[in-house]
């Protein structure tokens, strides 16, 4: 008799990998066209205005197409995300350039193009508001009474008093830019009228959002709405909240036409009019003793939420919780606001507010070290959170405290100290070299950070994640979750985790494309597949096995016997199904209003080292290599985990150095994949991912979140490396050559 070897920690091959490699994995735009109509969006061409109506050019034969405006919506005209402030189609006001005003469906693309050309939006302009300060002045109101979507305050001790008595107080203001997700598959939805309801297929992360949204929009019961997330070609948060609007649009057209309607964005439309990462301005006032002990932190952060609330109220929460970084300080005040402007709505993006907060705190800390005359490594060692240390929310991290360990390991893996010295020597000698070698300067820098696993306490309950396992006639077991495969490897990982709980080979577990009829709501996003959902799957697996063994009346350690037993029971007409729902660990306490308590069940700790070379003739930066060390508790699939880290670091390097959204009157000017420059293979260095695995008892089965984390390290590491190379502290990402070169030249004139 043989028992099953655990599949956890094995690089199990990607389940849908072969289909993707053969080219027969279908994304939404690959579905057969069979009679489907093509849809397009009529958009406002001003950033802020009163909407007067639409004018149809009567030279076009409007009987050839179907047109929908807000007046045609049978239910409530709302995109229900958090605040319910966003209409599906504009009704009274235009709040951003590109806001959908009407929808058109046509039998073919040329007719659609002509129809879209034959309609114009009539508006009466209002003064637009684009930046944070203008929004805070509240002379022009876009949202509520003061343009603030949400304010989060976190208090620990008495920061004001601490800063008054601190030996040294250092201030710093940092800025981060918008970032485009640039998933390779543009947004798309296909909706089909089924006689008394709607079936929607599309590229998305969160199918359950869409069920609720479409039911409200069409005034139909939720059970009449079936959402089938399609294989999704990259998401990064961009297909979290936005598809709630897009799927609603497709559903409206399917309802009106009684046909199947495809609404697929082309790349430029996707880049101009879908959400971006929230731009941020973050101010720090930080108090130290003379020898570098952190005694007080004040953080004042404002995020630019764009025209509507979308995910902003949750993004600002995560930003605030992460704002003090992985540092121990007894007196902290964090004030975080997210405000409305006439930009397209900002939305979810890998890291969900934390990257902005962590960039500012770790770049600032490195700067503080330079002001204090202390080695930044020593400053971190002195102040990082240790065992039983407390976060800004008062959360005692207990033994979930690997900040020091990831730091030391990263120093060792990257040979940090020796290289820092070698680069300093290289830079000192630069001018004495001949030829082209006199121009480059080199630097190495690091960032230390953490990321809360799963959603914050409040959100996780809100999403009441669930999973189910059921037995099949052939003895295999299907794992049901609504976790969508967006490239992260969900299907494979879900099978690994369910197999672990069941104690059977991973091949015996089937994972299906989820749909909202059969699959329980496992909640969306936020690096949760391996952790929250994984925990549920393992528990469900154990219960499933116990149930089978109970009915059989004996233990079934041999997987073949177990499988045969499942088959026999199912054949005998028995229903084998186990469901599990998330409830937070009983000792977790969270006060949402005060943002006090246990924000997350666990934290992933990480240190990112970046070495780079600056061409001082042009200010161009070449990253030489990156080392990312993280304690993830438990690695479920090493190949996937390394892939997540490498991809996340790449996206973080893009945000840090290259990806500059150029705005003009609230419209992205460089909305194509050449001028908006995500990194190519030639821009990226070798990226090493090193994992520590300290199982965390409050994290289900020990695994902590991974997907978002690696995005967060590069920006502060790059800015810190630039200071090491040039002796200049940069306060903004992306830190482009247009910023670097003048700063370097000004410094050399001094």
């Amino acid at each position: 008799m043989k028992t099953t070897e655990s599949a956890l920690g094995k690089s199990v091959l990607r389940r849908e990998g072969a289909a993707k490699l053969r080219g027969d994995a279908q994304f939404i735009d690959d579905l057969p066209r069979d009679g489907a109509w093509f849809a397009g969006t009529v958009r406002a061409k001003v950033p802020h205005a009163r909407l007067l109506g639409v004018r149809r050019d009567e030279r076009f034969d409007w009987d050839r197409v179907v047109l929908i405006t807000a007046a045609d919506i049978p239910g409530e005209n709302v995109v229900p995300v958090v605040l319910r402030d966003q209409p599906s189609l504009a009704e009274d006001f235009i709040r951003y350039h590109g806001q959908p005003v009407a929808l058109v469906a046509a039998p073919d693309q040329e007719t659609l193009a002509l129809a879209l050309e034959s309609i114009s939006v009539l508006t009466s302009p209002l003064p637009p508001v684009f930046d944070i300060d203008e929004s805070l002045e509240a002379k022009t109101i876009i949202f509520g009474e003061d343009n603030v979507f949400r304010t989060v305050e976190i208090n620990k001790g008495d920061a004001t008093a601490a800063l008054q008595t601190a030996d040294v107080v250092i201030e710093g203001e940092h800025h981060t830019g918008a970032q485009e997700h640039a998933y390779l598959e543009p947004q798309g939805m296909q909706a089909e009228w089924t006689g008394d309801g709607i079936t929607i297929r599309g590229s998305m992360q969160c199918p359950y959002y869409l069920v609720k949204a479409v039911a409200e929009l069409l005034d139909l019961p939720q059970e009449k709405i079936l959402v089938i997330p399609h294989l999704t070609g990259g998401a990064f948060g961009g297909k979290d909240d936005f598809p709630t609007m897009l799927g609603g649009h497709a559903a409206l057209l399917a309802w009106k036409t009684r046909k199947t309607v495809r609404l697929i964005y082309e790349r430029g439309e996707d880049m101009r009019f879908t959400s971006k990462r929230h731009p941020a301005r973050i101010r720090h006032r930080t108090g130290f003793t003379h020898d570098g002990q952190l005694v007080g932190m004040q953080v004042e952060m404002v995020l630019n939420g764009g025209a509507y609330g979308t995910m902003s109220p949750l993004v600002i929460s995560r930003a605030a919780i992460h704002a003090a970084g992985p540092y121990q300080c007894d007196n902290i005040h964090i004030s975080a606001r997210v405000v409305a402007t006439n930009h397209p709505p900002s939305g979810a993006f890998r890291g969900f507010g934390a990257p902005q907060a962590l960039f500012a705190v770790d770049a600032h800390l490195d700067y503080c070290a330079s002001q204090l005359g202390v080695d930044p490594l020593e400053l971190r060692r002195k102040n990082l959170i240790r065992r039983n240390g407390t976060q800004a929310t008062g959360q005692n991290v207990g033994d979930d405290a690997s900040a020091g360990e990831v730091l030391e390991r990263a120093l060792q893996e990257s040979d940090f100290v020796a290289r820092r010295e070698a680069y300093a020597e290289f830079n000192r000698e630069a001018e004495s070299r001949r030829g082209a070698d006199r121009f480059p300067r080199r630097g190495i820098g690091l960032s230390l950070f953490m990321h809360g696993t799963g959603l914050s306490g409040y959100e996780e309950v809100f999403f009441h994640s669930g999973v189910a396992l059921h037995g099949n006639a052939d003895g295999s077991i299907t794992a049901l979750t609504s976790q969508v495969e967006v490239g992260q490897g969900t299907r494979t990982i879900v099978a690994q985790l369910a197999a672990e709980g069941l104690g059977i080979p991973v091949e015996y577990v089937l994972t299906e494309q989820p749909d909202t009829n059969q699959h329980p709501d496992s909640g969306p996003m936020a690096s949760r597949t391996a952790t929250i959902i994984g925990g549920l799957l393992i528990t469900a697996g154990k219960r499933f096995r116990a149930e089978v063994e109970r009915r059989q009346g004996s233990l079934l350690p041999d997987p073949l016997v177990f499988r045969a037993t499942v088959a026999k029971l199912v054949a005998g007409g028995e229903r084998l199904e186990v469901r599990e729902h998330y409830s937070p660990p009983p000792e977790m306490r969270w006060d949402e209003e005060k943002h006090q308590g246990d924000a997350y069940p666990a934290y992933t700790w990480s240190c990112c080292v970046a070495a780079l070379e600056v061409d001082t003739l042009t200010g161009e930066v070449a990253v030489l290599d990156v080392t990312a060390v993280q304690d993830v508790g438990k690695v479920v699939n090493p190949m996937f985990a390394a892939g997540q880290v490498q991809g996340g670091v790449a996206q973080g390097l893009g945000w840090a150095l290259l990806e500059n959204v150029v705005w003009k009157n609230g419209v992205m000017q460089n909305a194509n994949l050449a001028d908006y420059s995500i990194p190519t293979a030639m821009d990226l260095p070798p990226i090493r991912a090193v994992f520590l695995e300290h199982p965390q008892h409050r994290a289900p089965h020990g695994a902590k979140g991974l997907g978002e984390l690696p995005m967060e390290g590069p920006a502060p590491a790059v800015v810190n490396a630039l200071r090491s190379a040039l002796g200049i502290h940069f306060r903004r990402v992306p830190v482009t050559p247009e910023i670097i070169l003048p700063a370097w030249e000004a410094r050399n004139l001094e």
Partner: protein, 156 residues
């Protein structure tokens, strides 16, 4: 206005007669007419490489290739790489090394890599980075794509 013409060329070894307006993109002919949807429409401007196919031995963007210029051409798409369900060695390396994540860029990268390896292009990391520069990937940071290509090349 009907401006369709018939264009004759080969796709994946099979003769094809495509009826289309002359400036129709090869991308649309492949995806809409021939239902070969493995070739992806990532940007439509030749910036992302997702629609890379091999025309007469060379990697090109199907979105920038008008069908009128394909008369008599030999076009190969990702659907031609594997023998039925059996992955070829390059595809198998991508599976084993983690060279595909979301999969949108994958067909284009496989075709660019195939053209490169077939003509005996270099396989050190720098050469492969340069060869990949016309193919964007947002998931992998390219590391495992390069490893996949090197494993496939080494197996030859």
């Amino acid at each position: 206005m009907n401006n369709d013409h018939v264009f004759r060329f080969h796709v994946n070894g099979h003769p094809v007669e495509a009826q289309a307006p002359p400036m129709q993109r090869l991308l649309d002919v492949l995806r809409d007419t021939l239902l070969l949807t493995g070739t992806k429409n990532g940007c439509g401007r030749g910036n992302c490489g997702a629609c890379t196919v091999i025309v007469n031995g060379q990697a090109v963007s199907a979105c920038l290739t008008p069908v009128v210029q394909l008369e008599g051409a030999d076009v190969q798409t990702v659907e031609n790489l594997s023998d039925h369900d059996c992955l070829n060695s390059l595809q198998q390396s991508f599976l084993e090394c983690g060279g595909t994540q979301c999969g949108s860029c994958t067909p284009g990268i496989l075709m660019a890599a195939t053209a490169h390896l077939r003509r005996g292009g270099g396989t050190n990391t720098e050469e492969l980075r340069e060869m990949l520069a016309g193919n964007l990937c947002r998931c992998t940071g390219y590391i495992k794509i390069i490893e996949s290509m090197q494993q496939a090349a080494a197996a030859k």
